[in-house]
């Protein structure tokens, strides 16, 4: 149940020893964190494990949160680094933005995915599934901007890149998402446009 307290108020309580107050923060951000990890890691099981790890790390280093940025921005920075570490450990390639393999991988996922597409997708499902087909980089940046309510400057802090680079990457990610939707959900899109 939400206490109506701000993140910083809850953090103060946790830092004063009220460990249970941390559950409020977990409840508040679990969907955001899980969505982000899932966009990068793709497997639900692994994404959930990583998301839990993110909250554990955030708790462990909570004293380092100085309140200079939003708690969510700080938390998503941990999401970003934890996901990359996980992907490296799993020896999966973290594909760069311009890597053609991204599209090959996404396309190979598409074929299997499309075979299971028996019923008409709702708009929301369609978007979520199209985002899931994007590369981890693209999926992350789109999720941060649209779902995690982070502006370009905050995303720049999270990803450790220049704001202008964020802008370009977001722009490219949206183009690729649009292409994915046009290529794989053409029937649904006809009903939209």
């Amino acid at each position: 149940m939400s206490t109506g307290q701000t993140d910083n108020e809850i953090i103060s309580r946790v830092l004063q020893g009220e460990q249970n107050a941390y559950a409020e923060l977990v409840n508040r951000y679990q969907n955001y964190v899980f969505t982000l990890t899932l966009r990068m890691i793709k497997s639900r099981e692994d994404a959930e494990e990583v998301a839990q790890d993110v909250f554990i790390k955030a708790y462990r280093y909570l004293s380092d949160f100085r309140g200079e940025s939003k708690f969510s921005t700080w938390l998503y920075t941990i999401v970003n680094t934890t996901c990359i570490t996980f992907l490296r450990k799993k020896k999966l390639e973290v594909y760069s933005l311009d890597n053609e393999k991204v599209f090959e991988m996404a396309d190979s996922q598409d074929s299997g995915f499309r075979a299971n597409m028996v019923e008409q997708k709702s708009r929301v499902n369609m978007v979520n599934e199209a985002i899931a087909l994007l590369s981890p980089d693209d999926g992350e940046i789109i999720t941060l901007f649209y779902k995690a309510e982070q502006n370009l400057e905050e995303i720049s802090k999270i990803l450790g890149i220049e704001t202008n680079t964020v802008k370009v990457r977001l722009h490219r990610a949206r183009i690729r998402l649009k292409e994915k939707m046009e290529n794989h959900f053409s029937e649904e899109i006809k009903n939209i446009y």
Partner: protein, 174 residues
Amino acid sequence: MNEQQNIESRLWDYIDGRNSMAEKSTIEKLLESNHEWKTKYHELLEVHQLLKSSELEQPSLRFTKNVMEEISRLYIAPATKTYINKKIIWGIASFFFITILGFLIYGFGQIDWNAKGDNTLPINFNKLDLSKVDLSKIFNNNFVNVFMMVNVLLALVLLDRFLANRRKNFHKEA
């Protein structure tokens, strides 16, 4: 960037509200008069709205419980700034600064400013024979030995901090 990409880029900025007033006004005029711009705008706006309407994924119902069980065994680590004390960094810097300053003062103090000479250097480098210089006499001094030891220790501390930072940055990047 081709024409089409340029239009899309400007339209995304417009949709995100990141245009200047002048650019905003230009785009609004283009949207009123240019069919291509208008069509593209509606297309992008639709994607934008769809993205906004996308839903968050939900983890399992046990998620919070799992996290809370894990953290019940943990303690919050002290803030990094408490063990990377800036006073220590300033102390080391001050030590070097004072040492260098001390040597400079001592060096300048040795110079006889009133000495009248023939505008030549006080040391005649032509007559200086480096082979006759006994380095052991200079480095046998206890003060010099202690000074060197302290410097080596400080260098090791700095090297340790440097490597720790590199390790930390590596983990951060990871």
